[in-house]
């Protein structure tokens, strides 16, 4: 027994010596990048952006407006009309009329053709949409360009094809539309979330009133222009920007037949409570605190890339972010060492720079929340590791951060931070990993890293989460259903299962 331990210690020491002596590629300061800014000239933002109701851009009835800024510079981009009760009412009525008179009567294949047309127009304007998304939301241009916009387009393409095939998805049922859908989307993927909401709703023959997030209304309004260009019948898509109050008016409007919400669990619960007994249909895509589990037999370098993608993608403003790393004790030291080096190489700064990996935090409010939780992590005794990168002096930025020595009970291990902050915990056995991963009210996503196929299937099937990534993280596709277990909400978006939220079956 003793010799076995000695041998193991010796082997470990040998590995450590090898690691220490191995030549390393020096990243960080050794590699200078020249600025590679994307041009903002491609977009024209109106000084005043209006609501999109019944096919027209109109000011709010109350005349109220709010400023929308670029979170990377804090410059005002536009004044946006704020939807009030009268505006929400007008939009819902327009949607109801459009549903009754036009959209639900249209031949399904024709509905599909409109949606295809929207997808094509988005492709033509993809660069403009990407730039606008980055200017308004602060996410790196390479993500808007390579992830958000192409995926949003793909969602329209995918769902266009469902319009005349719904009966195949629900055999033995007569399929009909529900009516007016009130949809509320968050600020982390403004255009993509609008696409996730609008595309399936339209394909199933519903009409929509969509409220974009207060801080990121611009790409939804650009999508409204595309709907106009596509000659979409007026009232089929209505966009009413505003804050929480506008959202509440939409949810509570008696003529809204279906509510779809993506956002915080706290607000999701309020909505569920508010519409109980109303007969309105509801789907909720709420918060998460995903466990990313790394086993000792994983390809470690690949796993480190997955960890980085899981938590620093989109500044960690991702409901399914891998914000809890569970790493097997035997490789924890090695993984953390690599992670420390890796976050030094992340380029934090101007979102419009094509080399930027981590852009701006979406708002001052969110930045404050991240700072508060990070301070709390330090106070609770976890060990802070942060990239030493320089942050721009203007705008809202936060360096890539992770905590080691985190306990299950720490706030940073239980609450959704929604920022580039990772909580690292360790485990010894697969059972312990599963137990820790599931020991949280959320259940949106999870990641599993191991080289052993049978282990992947066993661990993924034991995760109480709606989306599980094996040896990858943060992958999305319109054909792939997305949504949570437990307090991460109910209903799915994407795939055949996503259609269920937008059809009436009899």
């Amino acid at each position: 027994m003793a010799t076995e331990i000695d041998e193991r210690a010796e082997r470990k020491a040998a590995v450590r010596r090898f690691e220490a002596e191995r030549p390393r590629i020096e990243f960080g300061t050794a590699w200078e990048y020249s600025p590679a800014p994307e041009s903002a000239d491609i977009v024209r933002i109106e000084k005043r952006e209006n609501l999109f109701i019944d096919g027209k851009f109109v000011p709010s009835r109350s005349g109220r407006v709010f400023e929308t800024i670029n979170p990377a510079t804090e410059e005002v981009l536009s004044e946006v009309a704020e939807g009030g009760e009268a505006d929400v009412d007008a939009a819902v009525r327009a949607a109801e009329d459009a549903h009754r008179k036009r959209w639900s009567r249209l031949r399904p294949a024709e509905r599909g053709k409109y949606i295809y047309r929207i997808a094509r127009l988005m492709q033509e304007k993809s660069r403009e949409l990407a730039v606008l998304e980055t200017l308004n939301g602060g996410k790196p241009i390479k993500e808007s360009r390579d992830v958000d916009v192409p995926l949003a387009i793909a969602h329209f393409f995918y769902h266009a094809g469902w319009a005349d095939k719904l009966e195949y998805a629900f055999p033995r049922h007569r399929v009909s539309s529900i009516g007016v859908c009130g949809q509320i989307v968050p600020w982390n993927f403004p255009l993509l979330m609008a696409a996730w909401k609008i595309a399936p709703a339209l394909a199933a023959g519903n009409t929509v009133v969509l409220k974009p997030a207060e801080t990121t209304p611009l790409t939804s309004l650009a999508l409204a222009r595309i709907c106009q260009e596509a000659d979409l019948p007026p009232g089929v898509v209505n966009i009413v920007p505003g804050a929480g109050e506008t959202g509440a008016q939409l949810v509570n409007h008696p003529r809204v037949r279906k509510v779809a919400f993506t956002g915080s669990t706290e607000v999701g619960k309020l909505i569920q409570r508010a519409i109980a007994g109303s007969g309105k249909r509801l789907s909720l895509e709420l918060g998460g605190k995903a466990a990313n589990i790394v086993f000792e037999d994983a390809a470690i370098d690949q796993a480190v890339e997955g960890i980085v993608n899981g938590i620093y993608f989109n500044q960690g403003h991702v409901c399914c972010a891998g914000s809890r790393l569970l790493v097997q004790e035997s490789v924890a030291e090695k993984v953390l060492e690599k992670l420390k080096l890796r976050i030094e190489t992340l380029r934090v700064g101007d979102p419009m720079d094509k080399n930027t990996d981590v852009g701006a935090i979406n708002s001052r409010m969110q930045l404050d929340k991240i700072r508060e939780l990070v301070a709390c992590g330090v106070e609770e005794g976890a060990r802070l590791h942060q990239s030493s990168c320089a942050l721009p002096t203007k705008g809202f930025f936060f360096p890539p951060t992770f905590f080691s020595e985190v306990a299950q009970s720490h706030r940073i291990a239980r609450e959704e931070i929604f920022g580039p902050v990772l909580a690292v915990m360790t485990f010894r056995t697969p059972d312990e990993a599963v137990e820790k991963a599931n020991n949280i009210p959320y259940g949106l996503s999870a990641g599993v890293w191991t080289d052993k196929g049978s282990k992947i299937f066993q661990i993924t099937s034991r995760m109480r989460a709606g989306v599980v990534w094996a040896n990858t993280f943060n992958k999305f596709d319109p054909a792939s259903p997305f949504g949570g277990y437990k307090e991460s909400g109910f209903g799915r978006e994407g795939g055949m299962h996503g259609l269920r939220a937008y059809v009436e079956l009899s």
Binding site: L284, G495, M496
Partner: protein, 303 residues
């Protein structure tokens, strides 16, 4: 009960060779055991004409909590049984019911005043329903699951998984068929259940516990609580370890409260108002689909 009918049993008593009927004590069914309520409270059950039939336990918040605890403990084991095995156990439930047909019919006649023919139809329909769902155990996964053609190098698939602990507010009537119609699809999907049985006519449902107990269904997978709805429903709706509720209680006021309270942990609530439980529309894949979660797994393709 009135003693007026000159039934043989009574005659025997009159003649002095009496053999007194052994009445059943109706208890809660929790964790595979027949228990009285911890609260010590009882409610009398009467026939439609007002004759005393039996006392039942008036289940309490603590009974409900205990039932959820047992249901939680039993759920993962039940879910990890093979679909084949779950199907066999549901079929076994039908077998056990078949052996007790007369008892169930009698209870329906006594408690609801059902005619002999109606009672027979309801019991037959309940047995058929169990057989129907027994056959679903190894089929619904294929029908509710998908392989998703994603535009990247991943094998991407979605499968139904049990939600966990499901609360069932069973209809007041038909008490037996209604209960079986909601319980069987919840169980076949691998969930465990905590059922609030018919408040008005609980006896046949509590009798069903004896079927559950003798069908190889692991203890705790199905738990039956009798008692008052207005007392129990809020606790069920607010319980943090219940994932979903099938609300077939048919009380819109209580349903609204249930829906509101269910938001505490984002419970999935499916409200049912089934017009005809005997109809084939009151069974099928939709009843199972309501109590599964869809999990999507991304598995890389490569060498």
């Amino acid at each position: 009960m009135s003693g007026k009918n000159a039934r043989p049993r009574n005659r025997a008593r009159e003649s002095g060779n009496e053999s007194l009927q052994i009445r059943k004590t109706y208890k809660l069914y929790v964790g595979g055991e027949f228990l009285r309520t911890e609260s010590g409270r009882a409610d009398a059950v009467e026939s439609p004409r007002g004759a005393f039939l039996a006392n039942i336990s008036r289940g309490s918040r603590k009974d409900l909590r205990e039932a959820v605890r047992k249901a939680r403990a039993a759920q993962s084991g039940w879910a990890s049984r093979s679909a084949y095995n779950r199907g066999q156990i549901l079929y076994r439930m039908a077998e056990m019911m078949e052996g007790r047909v007369e008892g169930f019919e009698k209870l329906l006649r006594e408690t609801r005043g059902s005619t002999a023919a109606a009672a027979r139809r309801e019991v037959r329909a309940a047995i058929d329903r169990l057989v129907h769902y027994a056959g679903w155990s190894d089929k619904f996964t294929a029908l509710l699951g998908t392989v998703n053609p994603v535009a990247s190098s991943y094998f991407d698939f979605s499968v139904p998984e049990p939600m966990g602990v499901v609360g069932i507010v069973a209809p007041n009537a038909p008490d037996l068929l209604g209960l079986v119609s909601h319980l069987a699809p919840v169980l076949v999907a691998g969930n465990s259940a905590v059922v609030l049985v018919s408040e008005k006519h609980p006896l046949a449902s509590l009798e069903l516990a004896e079927v559950l107990a003798t069908s190889d269904l692991p203890g705790g997978v199905a738990n039956l609580i009798s008692g008052r709805r207005d007392e129990l429903v809020p606790h069920l709706a607010r319980h943090m370890d219940v994932q979903a509720i099938a609300d077939a209680g048919g009380d819109s006021g209580l349903s609204k409260l249930l829906g509101e309270d269910a938001a505490v942990n984002v419970k999935r609530v499916r409200r049912y108002s089934v017009r005809d439980y005997a109809s084939e529309d009151a069974q099928g894949l939709d009843f199972i689909e309501a109590f599964v979660e869809i999990k999507t797994t991304w598995h890389p393709i490569g060498v």
